[in-house]
């Protein structure tokens, strides 16, 4: 968003530096249930981003003063590994990761049926192993798969994806170069069954028209990511054909 470059981010044919069209997202790969010690987990790759999410709980909430007698709370920790970016990231929570933890927890709170577990806490840990722009969306996408994998009652699974503007073009799912040298970045997360928005931020500047176009792109891409999330969960719990129960 800040720097300037002579790089042509979108060529005359509308092709981007990684060979995508303007409304194309990076390839997404999701695997559910990758960690045996967590109650639920997911591993996600979107382009060069690599994210691991783990869910514990519902379990007793510590510290006690955070307990809510009417519902469960969701505690989220988004953490970037020191080796996740090209310059070593100083480990530990910083202003950015605290913000992202908070917005992801709030997005997940909208879909998890927290009132079923009063006084409990559901802990979500998101580790960014490799970052290439769009990690908050990748983290949220992975976290919601991990929550479903943990068998936590929820209304829906949350997919998230960013749209933005670079080189004067509205683009879907910015990569690192487009994010660094672009004009705007708009991450979006929705509840697919109702098309409610649970996360929307904007960094940079766009006209209203460009914003509407970015939202349209991000909405349809979210529905595509949603299908991938569902497929990952169903693959994990696939039941061999022709099986019947003899309980």
């Amino acid at each position: 968003m800040s720097g300037h470059t002579d790089m042509v981010l979108v060529d005359k044919k509308g092709m981007r530096i990684d060979g995508r069209k303007t409304d194309e997202h990076r390839p997404v790969h999701i695997e559910a249930g990758v960690l045996s010690n967590a109650d639920g987990s997911a591993y996600l790759e979107i382009g060069k981003n690599k994210v691991l999410a783990a869910v514990y709980g519902p379990r007793e909430c510590h510290p006690r003063h955070l307990q809510d007698p009417t519902k469960a709370i969701i505690q989220c920790k988004y953490n970037m590994q020191a080796f996740s970016v090209s310059d070593r990231k100083r480990p530990g929570p910083d202003r950015r990761s605290i913000e992202i933890s908070k917005i992801i927890a709030e997005a997940l709170e909208k879909v998890v049926l927290t009132e079923l577990y009063p006084r409990a806490s559901i802990d979500v840990y998101i580790e960014i192993l490799q970052a290439n722009a769009g990690t908050r969306c990748a983290g949220l996408t992975a976290a919601s798969v991990a929550l479903a994998d943990a068998g936590i009652p929820m209304r829906d699974i949350v997919p998230a994806i960013a749209a933005g503007k670079a080189d004067g073009h509205v683009l879907l799912d910015l990569n690192k170069e487009e994010d660094n040298f672009g004009q705007a970045d708009v991450p979006l997360a929705i509840v697919p069954s109702t098309d409610e928005i649970v996360l929307l931020q904007m960094d940079g500047n766009m006209t209203r028209k460009e914003f509407d176009k970015a939202m349209d792109m991000a909405f349809s891409a979210c529905h595509e990511v949603y299908e991938i999330q569902k497929a990952a969960l169903k693959e994990r719990y696939a039941i061999a054909k022709g099986d019947e129960d003899n309980e």
Partner: protein, 235 residues
Amino acid sequence: MEKRSARNAREVVVPGDLLDDSGMNAGSNAYVHNGKVYAGILGVKNVYHDTVGVIPLGGRYMPTTGDTVIGVIEDIGPSNWLVNINAPYPAPLHVNEVPWKVEFGDTSKYLNVGNVVMLKILMVDESKKIQVTMKDSGLRRIEGGQMVEMSHSKVSRVIGKSGSMIQMIKNLTDCRIFVGQNGRIWIDGDDENASVAVEAIKIIEKEAQSSNLTERVENFIKNRLPQKDNDREEY
């Protein structure tokens, strides 16, 4: 346990999947939005008469009144013990709910941290406060043997249709087995027999979704414990 219909296709659903839009009622783990029924948890779709629900595939054990569970003592108070029953909340066991006469402050003479007990869930209120009791036939402190943990959703497969699976394992391995509703299973018997019983339960856990499981587990045990147990059975 909820009664289930004769099932034809077992369909795995994820949260947010549409279960029905023809006006059926929402069963367990399902919710209604705009007159349509959606899945509220990852599990298997379950249709029973005019109700459609989801049987969970995993998740945390949630105690219900009347369950028998295996708990581990976690903390001791002057008039109660706190028991870990694998639920999101610890279960207090009051001195009035144990089969012994306990003086105030003498709780640690009877049960100590780390002891394992069989319990029955007395009550769960709407704020999910749990009360448990040991005052019921067969409930006691467990000594010896070993404890196996598995997902509580697979306990019904370990028990089998009207107890067929567990009865078969007990008969063939000559072990004492107690299955807690919370997914903890206690097994006591000869070294070799007990380890075969543990392996049999691991097989059930791994292949809980497949059919003819009782038969396969039976063959497995007979293979592992060939002569002596079959001899004993013929007496």
